[in-house]
């Protein structure tokens, strides 16, 4: 049994699980509202199109939806006792963790690709030629490409964090709540400076910004920039979270 088997099982699991469809439905309804609101605002105020707006909102939604996708991954297995069963199989802990992670990330990728519909609509309404014909709007695709890349990495990081909390508790609700809280703090770290200095010092604000998920996304990827430090940040978050998750799973052998 390899990580590939686990990946296929987990990936398939999402497509037979009503919760995954409900998550996808809720995400698409909320993003649809966001897209139409923004489009209407731009039409009313004679503004150019911006495909990155809906991506920014998707990032925020992942704070709430990533835990819904990951909370069952280990918590359910632990509650039902199947995790112990799996640990008796010829399977390395790291394969188990990576398989589950890639399964969740794969489903997230499918969900993310559904949002290409919005970009397709904007492309249909506009033009990729920087020198458009009169009355035809130009659509700068660069920030959209960078935004998707960033959002894909960002989603991987939120899923990895969600998995970590799923491995911490055998209660799905607790796991989901904890990961949601942590993701919210990591998201809001970008705007921690708005909290008065009497509450948190500037050093803490700076530290929060460094570990903030949003800070590595909103000022770079969404603006059309791919910065090595931001790419590395999300990969590092994934690696560290997956490493700790593996150690947590492994700890069941000696606890």
């Amino acid at each position: 049994m390899s990580f590939w088997t686990i990946f296929k099982r987990e990936f398939r699991q999402y497509f037979v699980s009503p919760i995954a469809y409900l998550v996808a439905f809720a995400v698409l309804v909320l993003l649809g509202l966001s897209f139409n609101t923004d489009l209407n605002y731009r039409i009313t105020n004679s503004l150019p199109p911006n495909g990155a707006v809906v991506l920014g909102n998707f990032g925020f939604l992942m704070v709430f939806f990533a835990p819904l996708l990951t909370m069952r991954l280990f918590a359910e297995e632990m509650r039902e006792g199947t995790l112990e069963l799996m640990m008796t199989m010829p399977l390395r802990d790291v394969d188990l963790v990576m398989g589950k992670f890639l399964g969740a990330w794969g489903f997230y990728t499918v969900l993310l690709s559904l949002t290409l519909v919005y970009q397709g609509i904007l492309l249909f309404l506009t033009n990729l030629d920087p020198n458009p014909a009169p009355l035809q709007t130009y659509f700068d695709i660069g920030p959209v490409i960078a935004g998707y890349m960033g959002l894909w990495l960002y989603g991987g990081a939120t899923i990895a964090i969600g998995m970590l909390f799923s491995a911490l508790s055998d209660n799905q609700i607790v796991a989901g709540f904890l990961s949601m809280s942590v993701l919210l703090v990591l998201w809001a770290g970008d705007v921690a400076g708005l909290v008065p200095a009497s509450v948190i010092s500037t050093d803490v604000v700076l530290a929060l910004r460094v570990i903030s998920l949003q800070a590595h996304y909103s000022t770079s990827f969404l603006e059309g920039l791919i910065a090595l430090q931001d790419v590395y940040f999300y990969i590092a978050i994934m690696m560290v979270s997956l490493f700790i998750t593996t150690r947590l799973v492994e700890s069941r052998r000696w606890r």
């Binding site: 469809y21 698409l28 649809g32 150019p48 200095a197 090595l228």
Partner: protein, 561 residues
């Protein structure tokens, strides 16, 4: 009665958490404050009570496999996190950034790199260094991060003479005051500071916001400081250069230094000559004729390659206000004669009436014809420029025979009127309230040129390159038309005409102007109501509905199975 062991265990866990919280807060705040002290005491009491009252548990814990494996795992985790943090630090130092925007708005343009090189070569000569200082408080850390992507590129392209510094104006208000920074003034957070070899500040150049064009222009201003100087000529009741009134010229006089062009006034009646540092002289709406002596000074200046902008209003006296008639540039005026003899242009004694291309009344003119002059560009061509009470310009080319001196120059019409226009010469009879009537015997029929640029035919081959722009109106340049500070929104066309005029005369753009990043002007999105309804149907009903339907089907199949 001893405490139950499970209580002691909980106290130990809480104590450990308190110690951890104390450590984090201490590291963040960098002081042993009350909160840290209370947490420290609580932690010591909690952990200490467990250690003292349950020594057997402590012994078992220390020698148990949980500690054995747990310690190893914790150390390994700390090492992994340490590597991750070190890697991030390295990645941050590399500052490798790929700009995917079509206009490359986060990538330094060649002209920006040249501006930086130009500034640094000048700094290196005197042993100076430069620093871009940004004022961002803790609430603006996002904006600071955004700016850093661009500023870092300047620092990286620098030979080491340019550094970056960010200052929190709330923490260092005195420093902000020294720079003249105030968030309420909306002047932008960036400054370019020049230090001498002793480390003392010698220049603080405001940049504005974190935009490439502003940063590079500030660098060029440092490079070209003192190279450009424009004199506003006085002595013949010209429009006041410093006046902030609607008919003053303070809007242009005070803003030129902001782009590195110094300004001054010069009384030509008392000056011995036009100063040698004059890049351009401006004669703006004189009311009295220039003397032969004045013209000799101007001729000497132009002969050495001078640049001149002449603005002249019609010799018209308002019959209501009874102001003395303007006698500047009448036919026998020495300056008018000089312009004709040397450059082949002269002002007519008329007032243009153009019913086909005017607003409000026939005397407020919008150019009907735009000539292919050197100062014209696509943007200026697309903007409306307004002129009030305009006189026409006669060109030697229209008469056919050119003298050898006149033939050496090329005259390009910048603006002309429509065919329906004419130059009213019976100025004593004109009433602005009434419609002027064309008299074929005395008036000049349109189209009439009223703005002309002049330069040598073989300018590129000549060491001396005089340039002249002559316009039959002064009002277009006054604060009422140009300067938003006067309370009236500046007219974009007039502002653009001024910018192009001064750039062409001083050749400032060739030396010290940075073109903005070539970002395509993004047009607004246009969607019909029908399209919008379809989009709403697709994105709000069809797409989520399809996902929900598949989910229901899957759920149904699973229940059946």
């Amino acid at each position: 009665m001893p405490l139950p062991k499970h209580w002691l265990r909980r106290m130990a866990v809480l104590g450990a958490l308190a110690l951890l919280a104390a450590l984090i807060i201490y590291l963040a705040e960098d002081e042993l404050n009350t909160v840290v002290f209370v947490l420290l005491v609580a932690g010591v009491v909690g952990v200490g009570a467990w250690m003292l009252l349950a020594p057997d548990e402590l012994r078992d814990w220390l020698t148990g496999r949980q500690v054995y494996y747990g310690t190893g795992t914790a150390i390994l985790t700390i090492i992994v996190i340490g590597f991750a943090v070190a890697g991030y630090s390295l990645a941050e130092q590399q500052n490798l950034v790929r700009d995917l925007t079509d206009a490359q708005i986060y990538t330094l343009d060649k002209t920006s790199v040249r501006a930086l090189e130009q500034m640094e070569s000048r700094l290196a000569f005197g042993g100076f260094t430069a620093r871009i200082v940004g004022f961002y408080n803790r609430e603006e850390l996002r904006e600071r991060k955004s700016a850093e992507y661009l500023l870092q590129q300047y620092a990286e392209k620098s030979t080491g003479l340019l550094t970056l510094e960010f200052i929190d104006p709330d923490i260092e208000p005195l420093m902000a005051q020294q720079f003249g920074y105030s968030p309420t003034l909306d002047l932008g957070p960036l400054y370019l500071v020049i230090y001498n070899s002793s480390g003392n500040r010698v220049t603080i150049e405001p940049i504005g916001g974190p935009e490439e064009v502003l940063i590079s222009t500030a660098m060029l201003r440092i490079s070209v400081a003192g190279q450009f100087k424009v004199y506003f000529i006085t002595g013949h009741l010209e429009y006041s250069a410093q006046s902030e009134a609607g008919l003053g010229l303070s809007g242009v006089y005070t803003t030129l230094p902001l782009v590195g062009i110094n300004t001054d006034t010069l009384d030509i009646t008392t000056a011995e000559a036009i100063p040698s540092d004059a890049t351009t002289i401006i004669i703006a709406g004189a009311q009295l004729p220039y003397t032969d002596s004045d013209v000799e000074k101007i001729a000497a200046y132009m002969a050495s390659g001078g640049r001149m902008l002449v603005l002249a209003d019609p010799p018209y006296a308002d019959p209501i206000s009874m102001v003395s008639p303007n006698t500047f540039m009448l036919t026998d005026d020495p300056l008018n004669r000089y312009l004709w003899d040397e450059f082949g242009v002269r002002m007519r004694e008329d007032l243009i009436s153009d019913v086909s291309s005017s607003i409000e009344n026939e005397f407020v003119i919008v150019p009907a014809r735009i000539g292919p002059s050197a100062i014209m560009d696509d943007q200026l061509q697309s903007l409306a420029v307004y002129f009030t009470l305009v006189r026409s310009i006669e060109m030697a080319d229209d008469l056919g025979a050119l003298t050898s001196t006149q033939a050496a120059y090329r005259r390009d019409v910048i603006y002309a009127t429509s065919d329906d226009a004419f130059g009213e010469t019976r100025l004593r009879d004109v009433n602005l309230e009434d419609e002027a009537s064309f008299d074929a015997d005395s008036d000049t029929a349109g189209p009439l040129a009223f703005a002309v640029s002049i330069r040598l035919v073989n300018e590129l081959d000549s060491d001396i390159q005089p340039r002249v722009i002559i316009i039959g109106d002064t009002d277009w340049l006054t604060n009422d038309f140009i300067d938003p500070q006067s309370g009236i929104e500046g007219i974009p066309g007039n502002i653009k005409l001024w910018n192009n005029t001064i750039e062409w005369l001083t050749r400032y753009s060739e030396i010290a102007s940075i073109p903005a990043a070539n970002r395509t002007d993004l047009l607004p999105i246009i969607v019909t109501n029908q399209e919008q309804t379809r989009i709403q149907l697709i994105t709000l009903v069809l797409l989520p509905g399809a996902i929900l339907a598949v989910g229901v089907l899957v759920w149904g199949f699973r229940r059946q199975a």
